[in-house]
Amino acid sequence: MPRRIVIGIQGVGHRVIDSVWRLGYAARFFTLTLLKSGASIRRFSLIIRELYFTGVLTMVIILVSGLFVGMVLGLQGYETLQKYGAETAVGTLVALSLVRELGPVVAALLFASRAGSAITAEIGLMKATEQLEAMGMMAVDPVARVVAPRFWAGVISMPLLAAMFSTMGVFGGYLVAVVLIGVDEGSFWSQMQSMVDFRFDIVNGIIKTCVFGVAITAIAVFEGYDAQPTAEGVSGATTRTVVTSALVILGLDFVLTAFMFRGVG
């Protein structure tokens, strides 16, 4: 029995050391990506191509989900608020929840599962089929040519996608509250505008999405580059991208929210 415990403790220690080692490797890889970004930013057509895959192809799911989330918020918000005779505040409720929290977080989760996993799978597959090594043998650095453009495309698309999500959400809330239920349109918008502050709510929301964008794409490109070059390795890496991204998004969201909205409102 004590032997088992010793082995168990050793196992835990081994895992901890292993994850710290991996974290260090990931940080080194992230720095490397940033250092080698110069070339890909100068050749912007590379980033445009990746913007198509990370941005344009994620747009549909973002727009549709945003619309539905906004409609649900509108419906639930109305149900609760009308008990206090404050149904005109439903616009404020929808807009604030979306701009501060749901927009950045849900859009980031969707982005991680749609675009993040695709980035990991693509890079992992390129590694498994020796494309990255072939590139290296052609004297082209795969980090600069493959990783950096995908990273920057992700960082650029994330805030835009989150903004689309929030806008669609507000529109969904408007559809349900004003068009369907019949809340007064004027007070819907004016209450929203008087309560949503550009600097504190919208800019903070955008900062959040930028941070999420960096985190998700950094995780995605690292997992892809670090994947075992086999079919199982790539599928495992893809799963890890989605799981790790989701945890990191929610954790970062708490930290950022605590920083931004502390002592305000």
Binding site: Q131, E133, A134, M138, A139, V140
Partner: protein
């Protein structure tokens, strides 16, 4: 004679996780020749190519390419050297997100400032030399295995390298594509005046096209010679390899306890 050699390998040792993969390899590869490195699967042939390309560092000894010691080069010098050599990977390793045309144009666009019209002409020339000019609009997913290998070959000669390394160029090909690739390797080596290193276990096809053969077994060179010498070789290993016999110096059975012990026959008898 030695000064004319493009690749010189001297007392090369390489271990991976304390497992010795290559032990004291010495080779000389003269310019303008096709050299084959043969051996059974997993004997360190591919590792040898990676050492020549500078992808891994030897434990001791050195590889000289064009009189430069590969593992002592700085990163930039290594990249400069790599522009003059290329490697054809086992399954081609074509970039799946680029069309055939863009695959062949890849190095030209990365390393030169040629105008797009010149690149177009060059790419079509390279594709023509492998007989696939008509396929330039296809994506790699639409190609058969043999075609992909030929496109990869066109890509690897894009910048007219002095050295091409082929990693299992014949693996998984039908007999027709196999001899097409074999002929192309021979013809292009002569036409472009380059040196080719073939890592393969396809004896018959490669003996037809190469100038010199090295046999590697368990990390050491067991035999070498011209194809004619190899065919007549008295070495039991080469004989087994060339005539594809099941048993010989390379045993059919992986080392194990005696069959009887493993099946618990001896204890029951005793």
């Amino acid at each position: 004679m030695t000064t004319k050699a493009l690749v010189e390998i001297k007392d090369l040792n390489f271990s991976y996780d304390e497992r010795a993969i290559l032990k004291g390899i010495n080779m000389t590869m003269p310019r303008g020749k096709v050299i084959a490195i043969m051996g059974s699967s997993g004997c360190g042939k591919t590792t040898l190519l990676r050492l020549i390309g500078g992808a891994v560092t030897p434990s001791s000894g050195h590889v000289k390419v064009d009189s430069q010691v590969v593992h002592e080069l700085s990163r930039n010098e290594l990249f400069l050297l790599r522009r003059k050599m290329s490697m054809l990977f086992q399954f081609g390793a074509l970039f799946t997100d680029l069309s055939v045309f863009d695959n062949v144009a890849f190095q030209m666009r990365e390393h030169t400032n040629l105008p797009e019209s010149v690149i177009r002409d060059l790419v079509l020339m390279k594709l023509h030399s492998v007989g696939l000019r008509g396929a330039h609009n296809l994506m790699p997913a639409e190609l058969s295995g043999g075609m992909a290998r030929r496109i990869a070959l066109a890509r690897s000669i894009a910048l007219d390298p002095m050295l091409i390394m082929f990693d299992e160029p014949f693996a998984g090909l039908d007999p027709i594509s196999l001899s097409v690739i074999g002929n192309l390797i021979r013809r292009l080596t002569e036409a472009l005046g380059m040196t080719s290193i073939l890592v393969t276990h396809d004896v018959h096809e490669s003996l037809k096209i190469v100038d010199y053969v090295y046999f590697i077994s368990e990390g050491v060179i067991t035999a070498h010679g011209t194809p004619a010498e190899v065919r007549e070789s008295a070495s039991p290993f080469v004989h087994q390899f060339v005539h594809s016999e099941v048993n010989g110096p390379v045993p059919f059975h992986y080392p194990a306890e005696t069959y009887a012990t493993d099946l618990n026959l001896e204890s029951s008898v005793a």
